[in-house]
């Protein structure tokens, strides 16, 4: 498992056990919402408070270590900032996967038709994953 101690310090954040637990759990899951994150961390860190989770999520988002992903009909999930990518969501089980789409083509096309300068793209494709399809 990756050690986030140095990375946190580079962002002027102290590497407390709570903070490390939070970022490691997010890393481990890939994408996770607040409730599951709290539930999961509490198993091994029973004294942690929900307020600590919230405070840390927010500071790490400000420091651009984490990113909130808004999903249709679901609670937001959090992920570690990485290369530009999109998301695939299973409407049945809520599982989220990273996907790589050539958004440049889309952005160029829209840029030529509209007068916007586009700097960001948020794409979520939703459906049924393999295991939920059968049900």
């Amino acid at each position: 498992m990756k050690d986030y101690t140095i990375i946190l310090r580079e962002h002027n954040l102290k590497a407390t056990p709570q903070r490390l637990a939070i970022i490691n759990t997010i890393d481990n899951y890939g994408h996770i919402n607040i409730d599951k994150l709290y539930e999961d961390i509490k198993l091994k860190f029973s004294s942690i408070s929900l307020a600590t989770i919230y405070k840390n999520i927010n500071t790490m988002i400000k420091e651009m270590l984490l990113l909130e992903v808004k999903l249709p009909n679901e609670k937001s999930v959090y992920e570690i900032v990485k290369d530009n990518h999109s998301h695939l969501l299973c409407k049945e089980c809520g599982k989220v996967e990273d996907i790589f789409i050539d958004t440049k083509k889309i952005i160029d096309e829209i840029s030529s038709k509209h007068t916007y300068t586009i700097s960001q793209s948020d794409v979520v494709l939703s459906g049924s994953c393999e295991s939920c399809k059968v049900i």
Copy 2:
């Protein structure tokens, strides 16, 4: 201005003045968030309560007359259900425009690489609109 009386009745909803005001205001703005919607309707309908707005937004979403659009770093906006389309957001002024992207191509590409059955795509491109670009 379009008359939503019949459309509401077709969805088994009574065409009350409050409800008509809500749907007409959304139609008029194209995309609007709860706060602006309440503020705007209150001008001409000072007795309306925020609870009524919420209840109606929710029933009309259930009846598939309205759709919630989740945006990065912004409050959700509501729109009247129409043909499949995507959104263009100005990060400066919050303005939202409809855009038309060939999502079929993207979906086909992802479907062939992943095992998901994709049934929905939510795309938001963000940047600066013409009037905000200069600032």
